[in-house]
């Protein structure tokens, strides 16, 4: 088994008993914090598909988080709380937005791509900010927790944690399969050398766009979870700083590995939480940590685990 897979299984094994441990410690709130970290782990995984495997540096990925959150929020506000409706709507909306904006963005490369995805992300942000019926700038409280065929999967923080963990595991397994499939190999090939791929007969555009859409759709699942977790939906989920944080999670965790982004997201959210308890100005040490980590380490957390690169 590859190191990345082993590290992932260990991670799952460590996560599994955490809620029990936290309540034994008398800190059950930590379960809620960890759940939030797992939600971002799903989002980071989705970003890794395009960033790590496809070399597409999307700076607008938070938009998909927001699309998922608003799908849950708007539907709930209209009395539809069933995940059996919310999830398909979130996936369809995220997929459609990804196909349209991706088709334009993917005509460009490098820095252009970074800036255009950023601009499209902001566009989604402003769109949601202007929906005064759904809270506009201020956002809105979630009208009701999402249900699944009448059941209440987010009813307790314990249940929420395990549902999220199960989803994370499922998505990790799905992406592991996708990245090792024919499709995944073509995607990796375009990351390595686009001209070579064209010379053997692949037109990268279709593969990139498909990956872009899959990635956005998975991120929207994280968005639905996030809306339930915060019991609140707001445009701030889609701000560009969020997109930047997600890139940091992937890169600092170790991009192109699937395990790295999960570790990166958990480390990121937990240290954010810890710093925020120490000082309201946590962004200063946090920004400094990002700068130093990128300047002085390579290969991310997983790379450090490997002890090389």
């Amino acid at each position: 088994m590859r190191l990345s897979d082993r590290a992932m299984l260990v991670t799952f094994a460590v996560l599994l008993p955490m809620p029990a441990l936290f309540s034994a410690m008398g800190e059950p709130f930590l379960t809620v914090v960890l759940t939030r970290a797992l939600i971002f782990a799903i989002a980071a995984l989705s970003l890794d598909l395009i960033l790590g495997f496809g070399a597409m540096v999307s700076f607008g990925h938070a938009a998909y988080l927001g699309i998922g959150a608003y799908a849950a929020g708007i539907l709930a506000a209209n009395g539809v709380t069933g995940l059996e409706v919310q999830l398909p709507v979130a996936l369809a909306a995220a997929g459609a937005f990804a196909l349209v904006t991706g088709a334009i963005s993917l005509r460009t490369r490098g820095v252009h791509f970074i800036m255009i995805t950023l601009a499209f992300g902001q566009m989604a942000y402003f769109l949601m900010s202007s929906l005064s019926a759904y809270g506009g700038d201020d956002g809105m409280a979630l009208a009701g927790r999402s249900t699944l065929f009448g059941a209440d999967p987010f009813g307790s923080s314990l249940r929420f944690f395990y549902v999220t963990l199960a989803l994370l595991a499922g998505i990790w397994a799905l992406l592991r399969a996708v990245t090792r499939s024919r499709f995944g190999r073509v995607l990796t090939g375009t990351r390595e050398n686009e001209t070579r791929m064209q010379a053997i007969g692949f037109s990268p555009f279709g593969y990139r766009l498909t990956a872009y859409a899959i990635s956005g759709m998975i991120a929207s699942v994280a968005g639905v979870l996030l809306a339930n977790h915060a019991a609140f939906v707001s445009p701030s989920y889609m701000g560009w700083a969020r997109s930047g944080e997600m890139i940091a999670m992937v890169v600092l965790g170790g991009m192109g590995t699937l395990t790295g982004p999960v570790l990166g997201a958990i480390a990121f959210i937990l240290s954010e939480e810890a710093l925020a308890r120490l000082t309201t100005h946590w962004r200063l040490p946090f920004g400094a940590a990002v700068v130093l980590a990128v300047l002085f380490t390579r290969g991310g957390l997983l790379g450090a685990l490997r002890g090389r690169r």
């Binding site: 566009m123 200063l284 400094a288």
Partner: protein, 305 residues
């Protein structure tokens, strides 16, 4: 109606000129140095705070402005020396992350030093009035001054780029980096200069805007994103593209917000029109960008490289 059009047209131009001041530095930094700098918006914010602080000390906005600009330059030089020069041989992704971290730090640093509340600055008497521009229409003197100053800087940049040796190096650097070092120029000093100048221009823009919008944390973020839109539309690395695109974005954004709902009213009910207008107006420039890129993926004035 004509009055409103002229008024909003002038507002749009003034906004465009402001965007140009910020965009010029960003596009040069990318064109010449191949560095993508997310902290550029924060330098606009730093300029605003410096002007506010110096105005408080000196008791006079013009003096504050004059003091803020060289300090903004010095700030840029220090930043280049401390961090940015370590990014020249790094991937764009690393550059994005490091400058993103810098931006977080600067935004928070400002919050620590000056708090979260906006800091406003009064204009000196001489600049606070308005003058007639068209029939009964009057326009604030200070906004005209911003417009003039921005156009002056644009003209100066044009002259420097097309008429001086430094400009020739910059043009060469934007299209062929190897050539610049082949010409025997100290590339590190050129980069330092470009980055400092970019920081200074952004700082100048921020400083000029303080009396109009006051200084507050995160004020650079919106400007940064708009600036990205500008340089992507104009063609990354092109000063001329940045100028044209800045005015275009400034006009479309300003006119869209005021005339969008009015135009829509002829198509639909007033309530619906104002709601749709409010939704569409902030998105207009992104739609504009998407439309331009769909036709010209490298922007209006692509730089050959």
């Amino acid at each position: 109606m004509t009055n409103l059009l002229i008024l909003q047209g002038l507002n749009g131009l003034q906004f465009g000129v402001l965007l140009f001041l910020v965009a010029a530095g960003l596009t040069l930094i990318f064109g010449v140095m191949d560095v993508i700098n997310l902290a550029h918006g924060a330098q606009y914010m730093v300029g605003a705070y410096l002007a506010a602080a110096f105005t408080g000390l000196a008791g006079n906005f013009l003096l504050g402005l004059v003091l803020a600009v060289p300090v903004a330059l010095a700030f840029g030089l220090v930043l280049e020396w401390l961090v940015i020069r370590r990014l020249y041989d790094r991937s764009h992704l690393d550059q994005v992350l490091v400058t993103f971290g810098l931006m977080l730090m600067l935004n928070e640093g400002v919050r620590i030093l000056w708090g979260s509340a906006p800091i406003s600055v009064d204009l000196p008497e001489a600049l606070s009035g308005s003058i007639p521009v068209w029939g009964t229409l009057r326009y604030p003197v200070y906004r005209l001054a911003i417009l003039g100053a921005g156009l002056g800087v644009a003209l100066g940049l044009w002259w420097m780029i097309h008429r001086t040796r430094l400009g020739m190096l910059l043009r060469a650097g934007a299209s062929n980096r190897a050539m610049v070092s082949a010409l025997g120029t100290d590339i590190n000093r050129l980069f330092l200069l470009v980055f400092g100048a970019g920081a200074m221009l952004a700082g100048f823009a921020g400083a000029m805007m303080v009396p109009v919008i006051s200084a507050e944390p995160d004020m650079g973020d919106t400007v940064l994103i708009l600036t990205f839109v500008v340089i992507v539309i104009g063609g990354i690395g092109s000063i001329r593209g940045a100028f044209v695109a800045a005015l275009l974005v400034g006009l479309v954004d300003t006119l869209g917000r005021s005339f969008g709902p009015i135009l829509l009213r002829s198509l639909m009910e007033p309530d619906m029109a104002s709601q749709t207008g409010r939704t569409l107006a902030p998105m207009l420039i992104y739609i504009l960008m998407a439309a331009i890129l769909a036709v010209r993926p490298a922007g209006l004035f692509p730089v050959q490289r």
